[in-house]
């Protein structure tokens, strides 16, 4: 961390790729839990973006990006908990987590 030579664009590209991977996972997998995993990856990619912009931005002492990322982590944890609770309850009710089969609202 003493000789810093990675430009901001590198971090942004990694974050964009991570976001795309998460999106692909959320859109193409059958299992409901994997959709949630994809969503977690997308949130993490956004956090990486925030921290990268905080670090290279004009006023890092204002801590804006850092705070945003911190609150994003907290909110993502809460959302993962509720989402997984829902998946567990759906499985208990419909005996499956296959999203191709849970396509009707009437249960």
């Amino acid at each position: 961390m003493t000789c810093f030579s990675t430009p901001l664009a590198g971090y942004l590209l990694v974050a964009a790729l991570l976001f795309a991977i998460g999106l692909a996972g959320a859109l193409t997998r059958r299992n409901a839990i994997l959709v949630l995993i994809g969503i977690e990856l997308m949130l993490n990619a956004a956090n990486l973006n925030l921290i990268a912009f905080w670090r290279f931005g004009p006023h890092p002492e204002m801590l804006t990006g850092l705070m945003f990322a911190l609150f994003s982590i907290a909110v993502a944890a809460a959302e993962a908990a509720v989402g997984l609770g829902l998946v567990i309850q759906i499985h208990r009710h419909l005996k499956t987590t296959d999203l191709d089969q849970i396509s009707r609202m009437k249960g």
């Binding site: 664009a9 976001f19 193409t28 997998r29 977690e40 911190l70 609150f71 993962a80 191709d100």
Partner: protein
Amino acid sequence: MSIVFVVLAVLTLAGAMAAVTLRNLVHCALALAVAFAGLALLFLQLDAQFVGFTQILVYVGAVAILVVFAILLTRGADDGKAGTVFSRTWLAGLGIAAAVFAVLGWAVLRSVKGLAQAAGAPAVTVEDIGQALMSRYVLPLEIVALLLTAALVGAVIVAMYEKEDAR
């Protein structure tokens, strides 16, 4: 591009790829934990120590375990025996993700000249973060506390065994 950054980026992206493509769900969850750890190391490389350690504590220590528990509690007959793990519309999903990456990548590469090349490490201590949380960001802090409490109670209620289920 320092070598450490390349290694960490490859680790994170490989973990993420494995997390969305593997067949065995628990392997996916463990690959996700690897991706989270790689991201935490990237945060540490960006001199955001507090966020990096929080990422390990919350994501690797709690969210990954949560995902694993959910996988184990919803195991049933559909344990990889179905033909494919991808849904019927996988091509459309892949196309959309590729399009999103193309747009984001184009935006980043087009503005490479305008972006900062290198910057000195900001002198941010944990005390500064504490002060900011208590002075400027106290409202989001309290709201997040309320949100976490509501999520905790809500998750317990949503996933609770109801009396009618015991038939």
